[in-house]
């Protein structure tokens, strides 16, 4: 599904180069559930943006679903984002003036889907996350967990192959967080590739595989069941020199 080879990304911050990603190579299988952990500044967000085609690597190649997307232009990238990738954010990023249903319809508007079909598919997605009765509510009339479920419905409405979730439970209480994770895992079980960026071991433990990043490099790979090892590596990374 995903093949990263020698990916590097460097920013300039205040005249100083920041090496966000240094020579990252990784393969991610279709249908995999992967968690990415790392202290702040480790490059995990940059990796997620590169994976989501929101950011371009300076070096290396990125193959997504058999295509080298590191060479595509902006217009082609927007099509890849539209049809192949679904995003879930820590702060939900719902458009506040639109109802739950209209938020879910948004990607289909850009895809040029007809209104009747749009409505039907949006309601079907909302039903799948248990929010059909709240379709007409605006985000400020929904709880945090409900908002994230709307975002989930939106991320999957164009039937992408890959879900990228950036701290999807970071802003939720335990119960709603668990609900959101269960929905994500359902989608993963149905064949979607799921990549979750998190600093919460309880979230990472549920993944099949865990990566730990430090200073732009992958410093640990292991199964989610051995999360304790990852947590120790992480603690060492945070306290280390």
């Amino acid at each position: 599904m995903i093949r990263l080879a020698g990916i590097s990304r460097t920013y300039e911050v205040g005249g100083e180069p920041v090496h966000a990603l240094v020579d990252v190579s990784e393969e991610i299988q279709a249908g995999e559930h992967l968690a990415i952990m790392g202290p702040s500044g480790s490059g995990k967000s940059t990796l997620l943006h590169v994976l989501g085609c929101l950011d371009r690597p300076d070096r290396g190649t990125y193959q997504l679903d058999g295509r080298d997307v590191s060479r595509l232009d902006e217009a082609e990238l927007s099509l890849v984002r539209r049809h192949t990738i679904g995003f879930v954010f820590q702060f939900f990023h719902l458009v506040p003036r639109l109802s739950a249903q209209e938020n879910v319809e948004l990607p289909m508007i850009f895809a040029g889907t007809k209104p009747a079909e749009r409505r039907e598919r949006a309601l079907a997605r909302l039903r799948a996350v248990g929010l059909e009765p709240r379709a007409k509510h605006r985000p400020d009339q929904l709880s945090g967990g409900e908002r994230q479920r709307v975002a989930l419905a939106r991320a999957t409405v164009l039937e992408p192959k890959l879900i990228l979730a950036d701290e999807p439970t970071g802003n939720l209480d335990t119960a709603s967080g668990r609900h959101v994770l269960e929905l994500l895992e359902q989608m993963n079980a149905a064949g979607l590739t799921l990549i979750v960026v998190t600093h919460d071991p309880a979230v990472a433990r549920r993944a099949k595989r865990v990566l730990v990043l430090k200073d732009g490099s992958v410093v640990y790979r292991g199964p989610g069941s051995r999360i304790q090892e990852a947590v120790e590596i992480l603690a060492a990374a945070e306290n280390g020199p």
């Binding site: 943006h49 929101l54 927007s78 099509l79 539209r82 049809h83 458009v95 948004l106």
Partner: protein
């Protein structure tokens, strides 16, 4: 992304900040209303002047002694080789078939007195044809008698105001007044007429042309004023008059003014004035455009996160550009519609206050004002919309 979706999306966004939208919309509305109202004023002035000429007589041809190359300039400077005589007038009246009525005219000033009351007024010497040619009407008595032009008569017709002033109580008809050194009988009083081509027709005396020439000691006429049978004959009349007078004088030394030319000259002057007024008003539309740009820039920076989200959801640059441009154009076209309404109301108000002024905005100005308003939205919306498309989705999403 269909047009309907685009407009719906932009409308939702605009509804999110109503006051800001309303204020920038108002700016456009004021601009459009200004264009509509000011051009209506200019057009009203043009129609008013046209109406004034129509009151004088629409099929009029005027012959002046002396050659002038351009209509509108004052002829007579640079020497008058030949007088325009009564014989010339007769020859034209008989020789040019298209002429319906011709009135020779002499103009001067003279003192009119009745008893102790004296007034200095304009003296017209003319013939009985002048009644129709100059569109005059009688309040009392008769106009000049139909006598041969070269025969004088000691009779006088008074303007309405002059009659009132000389005879506050008595009936003027039949009374004898002194005009200069001449004693003349009042045979009629004109209806109030007001200004006619710059002369107050209420404050004049009119006497037979031969009498006037003697009183003023003139050998030539001031002008010939004639009425043509139909508007279509103006050109042929002009040619006929020039041919006869050139033959009689041995050279072309008269100026023929058709009403047409005068009206056209005024028309083009007032037309230009209307354009200028419209242009000045259009500047306010440009200012309104800057207002839209400002509002849209604020909107883009407020919605940085949203733009990032739209990009993450797969919106192309073109779609984001279109979404923000649609907002700007919606503001400006709604402002345009409101402005047309405001302008229309202002024109109605103007007409209610000054019924004499036939103010009405010309169609081109209405169309241009609206088109310009829409264009202003599109042009001034481009910069903010482009700024939105250039936002980096990563930084755009970073804010919470």
């Amino acid at each position: 992304m269909s047009l309907v979706d685009l407009v719906a999306f932009a409308l939702r966004a605009l509804r999110g900040h109503r006051l800001r939208t309303a204020l920038s919309l108002l700016g456009v509305a004021i601009g459009v209303a200004a264009v509509v109202t000011l051009t209506a004023l200019g057009e009203g002035a043009r129609r008013y002047v046209r109406g004034q000429f129509a009151a004088v007589g629409s099929n009029m041809v005027i012959v002046l002694p002396g050659k002038s190359e351009t209509t509108g300039a004052m002829p007579g400077f640079g020497g008058v080789p030949h007088d325009l005589t009564l014989d010339d007038a007769l020859a034209v009246a008989r020789g040019v078939r298209e002429v319906d009525k011709l009135a020779p005219m002499v103009v001067g000033t003279e003192t009119v007195a009745f008893g102790e009351r004296r007034r200095q007024v304009a003296l017209f010497g003319s013939s009985h044809e002048a009644l129709e040619v100059r569109r005059l009407a009688m309040a009392q008595g008769r106009f000049l008698p139909a006598i041969p032009w070269d025969r004088g008569a000691p009779v006088v017709v008074l303007g309405s105001q002059l009659a009132r002033e000389l005879f506050p109580a008595a009936d003027p008809v039949g009374q004898v007044v002194r005009v200069g050194d001449w004693r003349m009988r009042v045979i009629g009083v004109l209806e109030p007429r007001g200004q006619q081509l710059g002369i107050d027709m209420d404050d004049v005396v009119i006497v037979p042309v031969a009498t006037a020439m003697k009183m003023l000691n003139r050998s030539g006429l001031f002008r010939l004023v004639m009425q043509v049978r139909s508007y279509a004959d103006l050109g042929r009349t002009r040619e006929g008059v020039l041919r006869i007078l050139t033959e009689r004088h041995g050279e072309e030394d008269v100026t023929v003014i058709t009403q047409d030319a005068v009206v056209t000259a005024f028309d083009s002057i007032l037309g230009a004035l209307t354009m200028a007024l419209g242009g000045i008003a259009a500047v306010s539309l440009a200012v309104a455009g800057v207002g839209i740009m400002n509002v849209m820039l604020v909107s883009v920076s407020e919605r940085t996160r949203e733009v990032g989200l739209l990009k993450a959801l797969g919106a192309g640059r073109g779609q984001i550009l279109a979404a923000f441009l649609a907002e700007a154009v919606l503001i400006s076209s709604a402002g345009g519609v409101l402005g047309l309404g405001l302008g229309w109301a202002a024109v109605l108000g103007l007409v209610a206050v000054y019924p004499a002024l036939p103010a009405s905005p010309p169609a081109w100005a209405v169309a241009a004002a609206f088109a310009l308003a829409v264009a202003v939205g599109a042009v001034f919306g481009v910069l903010p919309a482009r700024r939105a498309t250039r936002l980096d989705p990563v930084t755009a999403l970073a804010g919470r």
